[in-house]
Each structure stands twice: as structure tokens, then as C-alpha cells.
Amino acid sequence: MPVAHPRSIGELTELLDEESHTVLLAGGTDFMVGLNHGSTRLAPDDLIVDLRLVAELSTVEVDYQQQVLRLGAGVRWDDLLTAPIAEIAPCLSQAARTVGSHQIRTAGTIGGNLATASPAGDGVCALVALDATLVLTSSRGQRTVAVSEFAIAPKKNVLERDEFIERVDIPITEGWQGYSKIGTRNAMVISVAGVAVVLSSESNTCRIALGSVGPTVILSTEASQFAGTTINWEIASITSADLETVVEMTRASATPIDDHRSTAAYRKHAVGVLTKRLIEQGLTTLRKSL
């Protein structure tokens, strides 16, 4: 039961091709909880593949030509708090700041957050709103999957056994973006409800993503489209009636449950309030820069 430390994508690909029982370790802040509590047990022939030393996975690349920010899957929360990410993808940066504690942000990675496929994943919610795409790699080659299509159920994603998340591609866009999350204490809390809003003043579109109100992070397609078409982008404004419709559509897209953290009714209420506030805040900011 060894631990492998591949140092490059090539080595990693090769390893996953050769070994049949591999467990990818991408920070461990979620995986280790399962091991510690006995809910996850390693089989004797499992090979743990620690991704920490895979050089390419921790790269951050800003490509203004292609208008894309490429984040290696091994980039840690802590790295997301500063430039250039904080400037190019501020809602991802805000989401990162709400994740756990400094200890968690030092160890946890964006790839790990995605692979865990939790509907409460703060980073995932931001990335869905950002219309980010994942590059999944194996010895068979690469494929791209929208972040919104990656998780299919709690703790289930579309990764094949020999595949790994190589990087996240985030479109760079002018405009405004924000992430808000509700928890019942002021720090160190799992999201009861989270909303990310990205307003693109280039494409005149709005994308609204919701966390913790369904089995996966939800892209509120209808609400996003309605907001995109009803916002008067020239003056960065929306009528209160239209905004109310956006809020109602957002709530309608949420399918929350009652659990020990909150109620379905509160969660629906909350995603509406947060969406309204984020859009108002975004448009106010955009108006100032007109």
C-alpha cells in the first residue's frame, strides 16, 4: 500500500494507466475526514497517488490572448486569495475566503473541491457561475467538461477511473462578479446556501449559480437568461419588477431539503435574497464605471 508521488502530468498519466486501484489525494481535507472516521477505508491493494508534487497542477496561467485563466487543479485555496486570481475571478477568490480556516485553505485544492462533488462546494459554485471548463486527462487523451456538468450527484462525478482533473479554464470577462454564502456562524462553516453571480458586460449575460440547494451545485439557467435579457446593460440597471422575477426564478430552480443545518424553506428564501443583493450590488458597481 504505497504512496506514489508523481512529479509530472506524464508520470501521473502513466501511473494511472498502469495501476488499477488508485486513490487520488488532492489536499486531503475531505478525504482524510473519511479515513479518520472509518467511513472511508483503503483496500490492501489501493495505491494512493499524492498529486502535491505534480508540477503542472499548481500552475496559474493568465492568457489574455485567449481570454482565459488556467488554474492547475492543485492550486490551493490560499493561492486563490491573491492576484492575479483575486482580480480576474474575484468571486472565486471570495468563495475561497469562505472555505474553512487558514489551515484548510493551506491544504485544500480547487481540484479536490471539484472532485468531492459536494453541492456545498464553495469553489464549485463560483466556477459554475464563471462558466468554467475542466480539462480531464488520462492516457487516452484529454477531454473538456463544463464545471456545471462535472458533478452528477452528491459525491459522484464524471471522472473515469484513470482520469484526473488537470486544470480549470475560466473565461476572462469584463463586468462584475460576487459570491455570498450563508452559514450559522461567522467563520468555519459549511454553506447552508450559497450564490455566485457573474455579470458580463462584454457579452451582456448574467450567470447565477446556487450551492447547497440541490444534489449538485445548480446553474439557474432560466433566471440567468431572464436577468441577461432584462438588465439594461447600457445603464447597468434592472427594474425592480424584473429583479423580483429573477429572484422568483432563482428560487424556483432550487430544490433544497430540510436537514440538521437548515430548512428547505429558509434555503429557498435565502438564495433569493442573496441573488437579489448580488445583482443589485453588481449593477451599482457597474454603473459607477460607466
Binding site: G178, T184, R185, N186, V189, S191, Y266, A270
Partner: protein, 772 residues
Amino acid sequence: MSDLDIRESVINGGLGQSPVRPDGVAKAEGSYEFSSDLSADNMLIGKTLRSPHQHARIIRIDTSDASAMTGVHRIITAEDVPGKATYGLIASDQPVFASDVVRYIGEPVAAVVADDEEICSRALEAIVVEYEPLTPLIDARLALDTDTPPIHPDGNVIREQNVICGDTTVIGDIVVEDHYTIGMQDQAFLGLESALAIPDADGAGVECHVATQWLHEDLGQVAACLDLPESSVRLVLGGVGGAFGGREDISLQVHVCLLALATGRPVKMHYSRSESFLGHVHRHPAQIWMRHHATKEGKLVKVEAEFVFDGGAYASTSSAVLVNAVTHAQGPYRCENAEVRGVAVRTNNLPCGAMRGFGVVQACFAHERQMDLLAHACGLDPIEIRRRNAMSTGDKLITGQVVESVAPVLQIIEGLERMPFPDDGNDVETHPYHRPGGAGNTTRASDVRRGVGYGVAIKNLMYSEAFDDYSTARCTLRDGVVTLKFATAEVGQGFITIAPQIARTTLGLEDVALESIDTGVGSAGSTSASRQTWMSGGAVEAACLKVRQLIFEHVASSTGSDPFALVIEGDSIVNTATGERQLMSEVVKGLEFDEEVEFRHRPTVPLDENGQGACHTAFAFVGHRAIVDVDVELGLVRVVEVSTVQDVGRALNPLSVTGQIEGGIAQGLGLALMEEIVQQDGRIMNPSFTDYLIPTIADMPPVVAELIEIPDPQAPMGAKGVGEPPTISSTPAIIAAIQDAVNQFGAGRSHLTRVPIRPSDITEALNSTRRD
């Protein structure tokens, strides 16, 4: 005696100063041994098998597969308990292991001892227990129903206690009532349950190092279950990582000793966080109805109340918790007439017992919410209604007991009124912690309403109802060094800091050593009920006074002076008749004394059937003002500041008092805003620190504390216990402040009646109005 020394005599590290904790450096460097850090050569590990059922009959337990596993040494069940099959603090009603019936999810059924934890876990999975599920009793109110079958041979009612006084037919000009709910709070001490038991070489006895609050109570219960004389069982305090009431009951003590004796090897047991939630008692969830009657001027004329406490499957201290609740129903206010009914019942939920505040937390939440209702109905502000009703020394409680303690309630209320408001009106801080929602970045300045609320409380100190409450301490003087021996559980509160302070001031000697805390001396009683400064402090002082008397007599006889003229001033002995003084460290050279004292507080009596009787020993008082910012639309709260005025008698160690106040308020804030064990059909839905939330440093506001230091004539050194009061009225103060913020959206919003308050409770209050 030597020549007159004109310098001012002082003693370093005496009373009123704040010397550092003697264990501070070891704790800071990580070398301090908590009970979970202990190990021994040849040590085995023990683990408990717990019931997955709320209520079930045990048909069969098959340990054969598990016993056969490599590395497994022994598996024990109820059959292997040689002595008493049950234990319990007040009633011995809780089985060491369930034998016929399990009564809550998490009840111990068997224990395994193996080479290591992993083997233990696998062995537990291999034990087969066949259960026949029985109908669980979930609802505390149903337990009162005579049609409900008893879930325990002792019946479903643990105790009923009413307090009836005065004219119960009186009706006030103004009457306000409501129903209140208090959720189940966990002590959530950080240092998990852990113990190391080492059998004697001849197998005839055992030594158990355990994190507990009360060594001698454990000793008695453990020895009875082991069927050993108490002299064959030694309990030693293992380093305790917090307690807050959760270590007053037996958890793993009997199990670990049984396993050690069964194997003849040292055995360690150590709970995980999720097991800890099952392994100790919790604060009682309570349903409370209260109706307050007052004159038009807001003078309280009658309090009516009904308390239903869910004690869970076993009695623990439920009966004493109930007595505290019903006897504190009036709060720190004068009231001549009362009709208070209370019951603590058994259900198939988690057992409940002691937690900081012990029944008074529940009562205070209800009576303080009622005082706010009353204020509103009388057209008074929350300070004025409390001022008009404040009790003082000499007042009679609804139990008929006269308050003899210093009772500076008015000073507390007026102190709170005088407290300045924080100067952050133009708070332009952009840090998310400055808004409700904190790191979540949910709230804009325009979404925030600021509210202010108050809470005031009375809390009994020490044990009540004729309990023989005492503490033992020994003071030894040898080679100029004072050595203190006591069995007082140091759980973090700092008794080991003040005990030497007491000795230094009493004896004028700086050099004080502490012996190991164990059962090698008489009982100190429990580290609970805010009692150790009074009780063990009193015992240490009394033992030191005896030694001092012997020193005085020695000095008097060798110098021909009057022993009654001698006093200690700082580090010196002074002859008040002649003015002569000498350093005590010089005087005691060559002297050896050894004195042991049992210190008792004055006797108390049990309550009669109408709840009458001087059942409590003494009282302390406290008040809190909370300032909160509320995002009412989302129901999110940021506590901006908590101010407090506390009656402490005398601050023997001001830094420790501050620590108790701030720490206690944090637990009160936790109950107000976030802390609740959520059970569904008896199963804990949040048995982890991911979901049982306690306040972080980001949730805890600055605390402004003012101490009222009026030495209490009945208290040793004038000092009252300070541990519990901060936890009690901070909770209703925070809820009152939230109510104030909600009410800014228009009068008549729903009264907030539940703790912990959930965001949805606030948003619902915003959208609904009060019935009456």
C-alpha cells in the same frame, strides 16, 4: 523579633494578584499530559460497543467471532460486571452495560480490549447483538401520560417539584405569558473523554488516571461496580481538557477499570468526538411556559411557570437541575406570589445532566424574555422594569428562603445602564467580520439593524437540599515550603492558581508547592456549581489558618508575646502590640506542621412538597447587555459587544475572573445563536464539530466587564463563585437584542422564544406578528 522593618510588606503571588497558572508553561510547550496523552508499557486499548437502537430488548449478544480475532484480548458485557450493575450520581439507575434493554442510541452494550484501536474497531463490528425493537418514548410530554408504559423500572417521572407561595389567586393588572424552548446544548470540552487504568500487580486493585470533575464520587461508583473496597481503587486526575459539567457523571471509568482488571494489563480508553456526544450527559432541553402578573407600574405580583425537562434515558442529576429551575423561576426580582410546577422525565433520548448554569440557564432564558414582554406591556424600558423589581439582601424568595448573600442587583442593573455604547457608529471597516454573516459576505450596511438587549440573573452557589457538601485540604509546612494537597479537580478553571495564592496570603510565604490531585486525601466535592473557590478555597484557607495558628503559638511562646497580637502582613509576621515585624520565611525555619481540614458550608434543607425551604447555600448575581447587528431579512446575527456587571464578592485572581467571564459568555452566546444537538428519533444528526457549531474567535465580540466587589460575609475570603453566572443571562440578553432589531421593522413582531435561535426563526418573526 528583628528590628522594625519599615518597608511595606508584600507577598508576591498573593490574593488579588494575577500570578500565571502553574501549569501554563507546560501547556504552552505541549508537554502537559492530558489524560489522552497518557500511556504505559504493555498498554492495551479499549473501546465501547453502543446501542444503535433508541429502545430495544437485547435478545442475544454473540462475541465469539470478535473474541477469536488476532489481537483481541477480552470482550466484556453486563455479565462481567462483578459488583453493582448500575451507577448514577443521584439515583443509581444507569447500567454499566445494558443487559436486557437498551434505552438510548449510544448506550454501552459491551467493551473490547485489544492491541490497538484499529483491532478494537474491527472487533466491535464483529460482535453480533440481536435486538427486538421496542416503541421509543420520544416526547417528554408523553412521558407524563399515565398511559405511557414506563421505560425504566424507576418509572418515567424522575422528579416533580412545585414551588407554591403566597396568594396564588392574585391576578395582576398586566399579565403576559408565553412558551419557551431551550435546545439541547453540549459541553463540547475540547479534551475528549479518556482514561488509563493500571491494575495492581496482584490484581486486587486498580489505579485509574481519568479526566473528571469529582474524583471521590467516581471512586465510590467505580469501586461499587468493581466490587472492590474503595481502598483498592485509586483515582488520579489525568489532565482535563475542559469539563463544564460534562465530566460529573461516569462515562468510561468503570469500563476501563474492568478491562484492566480482566486482562491484568494497563488499558486506555479514549472517545472520539462523535462518541463523546453519546458518552456524556448534556444540558436538558426544556419546554417552559411562564405567565407574569404585574401592577400597572410594572411591579411583579405573581409568577406562574411550568417546566418540562427531558432527562433522557437515565436520571443523572435531572432532579437537582429541576430544583434549580423551579427555585430560580422568579429571577433576581422580588415576587411574593408564585405557582411554579416542574417535572423532569425520562425518555429514550440522550441522557441529560449537568452543564454550566445547571437548570438556571433554562429558567433565566424564560424569565428574562418575560421581563421584556412585561416591560413592553407596561410601557417601560427593559432597564426600568428590572430596576423596579430588583431584589436585594434580606428579600424572601418564592421558596421562603431569605437571601442572606450580598445581592447587588440594583447596582448591576444601573451599572449596565451606565455602560457606554461602542463607538463604531461610523464603522467603515470592510472586513466581512464586521457584518452579520461574517466570512460569508452576505450582508450590506443597509441590510443591518442594530439591537440592544439585557439579561439579569440570580444563581445559587454550591450544592443544595441538605447535601453534605464539603471539601478537604491539607497544608504541610516543611523547610520553609508550604505544600498543599487536595482532590479538587483542576479542569482549566484555575484552582491550582488560586490555591497557592490563598496559602501565600494566609501564611506570608511565597514558596508553595502542590501535590498530585488524587484520592489520597479526602473528597473535595465536585468542580461544579461554582463551588470550588468557596469550598476548596475555604478548605485551603482553613488548613493554612490552622498552620498559621501553630506558627503564631510557636512564635508567641518563644518570644513571650501575645499570640493574638500577631498578624501576617504581606511576607511578614507583625506583632500589632509592639510593631515588631519579621520575615515569615525567617520565622518558619526549622518548623514543621501538617494540618488537614474538612470545610463545610452552612447546612441547607430539602424542599417540601410546595417547594418551600432554605434549600440553597448562597447566591451570586450578574447582568448582561448585548449589542447585536442583525440582517433581519436573512436572519443572520453579529454580536457586536457584550457588557457585563458581575457580583463576584472579591476577585481573588482578576485575570482568572476575566477568563471565566469571557469564556462563560462565549458559551451563552453559543446557546443563543448556534449550539444545539439535533436529534431525530434519538439519533444525533450533528455529532461532529463540523455540524455542532461552537463559537469561533470570529463570533466572539469584545467583552466589557465590570466587577462588583462587595466581599460576601458568608464566603471564605469574601469571594463568590464566578464560573456559571456569565453563561446564564448572556443568552437572553442576546435574544433580547435580536428582538430589538426585529422590532425596528414595526411594533408587534413575534416574540422570540427559542434558543438557539435559527436564522429562520428571525425571518419568520419579521413576517409575523404577536397574537396578544
